[in-house]
């Protein structure tokens, strides 16, 4: 077996530094909330729908409460108050707000105990639905057998959810284990979740609850036909992280892109907003048994994969530590890594082997999300196909968790039907060819691969220790991550973050924390 000889003291030091860094955010997690967290609470209370011009009811309600300076108590309180006052359901409350018939803060305040007990009751409804979905998934895996390792993950991105369904089903039949519906570009930056089934998108298809439902239904059908459970994934990161997480939990998505820092670094979303939102979003994922996936690949598409290899390791350790604080189990942490090494480089394969093994061994239980070559993919489809083969080789050899298949047309267009099919053929051939090769091999003493992995780990450790000392926000402000400066109070969405009142109440977070043992 290929096994690194990692310097265990570095492993411990780097983890400790990561814990220190993430541990510094208790103040944020315990006494702040955000508009997106509150909208998530509304959705969990059962509120859905949008106005004719597309504004979602959760957004409407939150805006009303914000305008009334009433959000610090938490949205749950006001909705429950209205439910009691009007003796109606949460959805009816929302409808009334949408019709302009109801100003929530104008209603007479009800008995707090009644409010809290109503909230505890209503919260258990949606939470049991989510638990049922989790049980559903477990049942199907039990019936059809576990996912292959690495799992075959392909994207669909036509912009039209119905075309996506055709392409997803075709891919499933050819062997895909996981379908990712790529989001329309920069949905991260929308401070609401679009509503309903959508047929026009840009470089992808909007993440909406209805789209989730349509695709999950199609995949359930094809799963039954094939006797293999086909997983579904989408993107949570951005200004709606917890909302999309909860939509995924409700519709039984199986994995969810959810990086603790992606929004800050790559989408210029405010650091506080992002960390706060990820905290609750991941709790939801943990509760729903959804595997999270992180976006370390983004570091390498912008910077050099050799020089900045340590930033991947550092980010993985931070993502791990943040995830643990939200109750995510290691076996549900799809930490990211990517094969982005320049194919012109001598020994590119050996470098990548080192990096891939490092990720696997630092996180032995994590179903690592392994991203294909994209940056050096060129219009030469034949060459790109070969680079993807090397990627598939390493994926199988080192037992990565999820193989995000590369497409030979990566540098040209979002995948055509043929491209995806050839990508699956590529992976299946490679996975078969080197199936048990790992068992025949081991690393030579003092091998380059081992040295390289330890060198990267050392750089990551030094880096994390530096950040631990100076604090994450300050390090980000200085541009120490991804070479971009992100000040604590800059970026989008800061105005959606608020400090909670003494009597702020989020019944779901309370319940989930309890069940997750946090």
């Amino acid at each position: 077996m290929l096994k690194l000889d990692l310097d265990q003291s570095l492993v411990q030091r780097s983890r400790k530094a990561a814990e220190k860094i993430t541990g510094d955010f208790d103040w944020l997690f315990s006494s702040y909330s955000s508009v997106s967290i509150e909208r998530t609470v509304l959705r969990l209370l059962g509120i859905d729908g949008a106005t004719d011009d597309g504004k979602p009811y959760p957004n409407l309600i939150i805006e009303q409460l914000q305008a009334a300076q009433a959000l610090r108590k938490g949205a749950a309180y006001w909705v429950a108050n209205a439910m009691l006052a009007k003796n109606c359901s949460a959805q009816q409350v929302a409808d009334a707000v949408a019709n302009g018939e109801l100003e929530l803060t104008m209603l007479p305040l009800q008995d707090p105990d009644a409010i809290y007990s109503l909230l505890l009751k209503s919260s258990s409804e949606k939470l049991s639905h989510i638990k049922a979905q989790k049980a559903n998934r477990a049942e199907m895996f039990a019936k059809y057998g576990p996912r292959r390792v690495p799992a075959i993950y392909v994207i669909v991105a036509t912009g039209n959810i119905y075309e996506d369904v055709t392409q997803a089903k075709a891919a499933a039949r050819e062997g895909a284990d996981i379908i990712a519906v790529i989001r329309s570009t920069a949905q991260s930056l929308l401070d609401y979740v679009p509503y309903g089934a959508t047929t026009v998108g840009f470089g992808g298809t909007y993440a909406t609850q209805e789209n989730f439902r349509i695709m999950r239904k199609a995949l359930d059908e094809v799963s039954a036909e094939l006797g293999r459970y086909i997983s579904l994934t989408n993107y949570a990161s951005g200004l709606c992280m917890p909302e999309i997480a909860v939509m995924g939990a409700i519709e039984r998505l199986d994995l969810m892109l959810n990086d603790a820092m992606y929004g800050i670094l790559f989408r210029d979303i405010n650091p506080k907003r992002t960390l706060l939102d990820q905290y609750f979003a991941r709790m939801i994922n943990a509760y729903a048994g959804i595997e999270i996936q992180t976006g370390e690949d983004n570091y390498l598409t912008t910077s050099d994969a050799i020089e900045k290899a340590y930033t991947v390791t550092a980010s993985q350790l931070l993502n791990e530590s943040f995830a643990l604080r939200s109750g995510v189990k290691p076996e549900k942490m799809g930490l990211g890594h990517a094969y982005e090494i320049d194919p012109e480089l001598e020994n590119s394969f050996s470098y990548e082997l080192a990096h891939a093994l490092l990720t696997r061994e630092l996180f032995p239980d994590a179903p690592v999300k392994y991203m294909p070559p994209t940056k050096f993919a060129s219009g030469n489809i034949f060459k790109t196909h070969l680079m993807d083969a090397m990627f598939n080789f390493i994926g199988q050899l080192t037992g990565q968790g999820v193989q995000l298949l590369g497409m030979m047309t990566e540098a040209i267009h979002t995948p055509h039907l043929v491209d995806r099919s050839l990508a699956i053929e590529n992976a299946q051939y490679l996975f078969r060819a080197v199936k048990d090769l790992g068992a025949s091999l081991q690393l030579a003493p003092d091998s380059f691969v081992n040295q390289r992995a330890n060198a990267v780990l050392l750089e990551a450790t030094d880096f994390l220790e530096r950040v631990a000392q100076e604090g994450l926000f300050s390090a980000m402000a200085k541009g120490e991550f991804a070479e971009i400066k992100r000040p604590e109070n800059g970026g989008k969405g800061l105005d959606g973050v608020f400090e909670c009142d003494q009597d702020y109440f989020n019944p779901f977070m309370q319940e989930m924390k309890k069940e997750l043992g946090l």
Binding site: T158, E163, G379, I381, H413, H416, V418
Partner: protein, 245 residues
């Protein structure tokens, strides 16, 4: 009713096609433009040159994506395919026993310049191919495999001598359409010798289709991925029908 279909990239009828070719032009903006103009001149609608590579000696390689407006009417596509059902070895043996009642003689060869015997061996040899035994193993066949580079004259002479029911011909090399020439020559010789109607003439090879075989005057043709079972069933059923059984 017409049913026009077009190539599909990611949207129905988007007409997307990938192309790759070399041109005797330089690997620069002018060469690239020449490639683009060439694609447009071929009638494509959009042409995106995604890659150009200098091949040396004045040639450049282009990879391109383009869309075509041309469609094909599925209702006008008629293909001749072998229509007899496929039976396994036991079923064929039983069928021949019941419907013909005697051993059938099959003479096979890879003719003229062609030495690629793996294909015809796959059909005829005892040990077979991909878990199907070859004709030699069938109790209902007297299978004679003459091997490689057999002159058409020798094949016909042997078939006459053995009173063959069936002739099997393989042609793998197709450069400059040599297979068409060879297959045509064989059938013309057979006609000249009065053998054509006395036996089934079957050909096979990676670039052979049933359609092409018929066109060349054969009874049937078998391409890539054919098995002994396909051929054996076809022979049994066709000969039985010919005899009116």
């Amino acid at each position: 009713m017409t049913q026009i279909v077009k190539p599909y990239g990611d949207t129905l009828n988007d007409g997307k096609i990938q192309l790759s070719f070399a041109l005797p032009v330089s690997a620069d903006a002018k060469g690239k433009e020449a490639a683009r103009v060439l694609i447009l001149s071929m009638g494509f609608d959009e042409a995106e040159i995604t890659c150009l590579r200098d091949l040396g000696e004045g040639f450049t390689h282009f990879v391109a994506y383009a869309s075509t407006n041309v469609g094909v009417d599925l209702d006008k596509i008629k293909v001749k395919v072998v229509e007899t059902p496929v039976m396994d070895m036991e079923a064929t043996e039983k069928y021949v026993e019941e419907h013909i009642g005697r051993e059938l003689t099959v003479v096979g060869a890879c003719i003229e310049s062609d030495a690629h015997t793996v294909g015809i061996d796959a059909i005829m040899n005892m040990k077979g191919y991909n878990h199907r035994f070859g004709l030699e193993r069938y109790s209902c066949f007297n299978a004679i495999n003459m091997g490689a580079q057999v002159p058409s004259e020798d094949l016909l002479a042997r078939a006459r001598a053995e009173k063959a029911d069936v002739i099997l011909v393989s042609q793998v090399v197709t450069q400059k359409n040599i297979h068409i020439q060879n297959l045509t020559r064989l059938i013309e010789l057979a006609e000249a010798e009065g053998l054509r109607d006395k036996m089934l003439f079957i050909c096979g090879g990676p670039r052979i289709s049933h359609e092409l075989a018929i066109e060349l005057g054969y009874d049937a043709g078998f391409g890539t991925g054919s098995y002994s079972t396909d051929v054996a069933s076809y022979i049994a059923i066709t000969l039985a029908q010919k005899q009116g059984n």
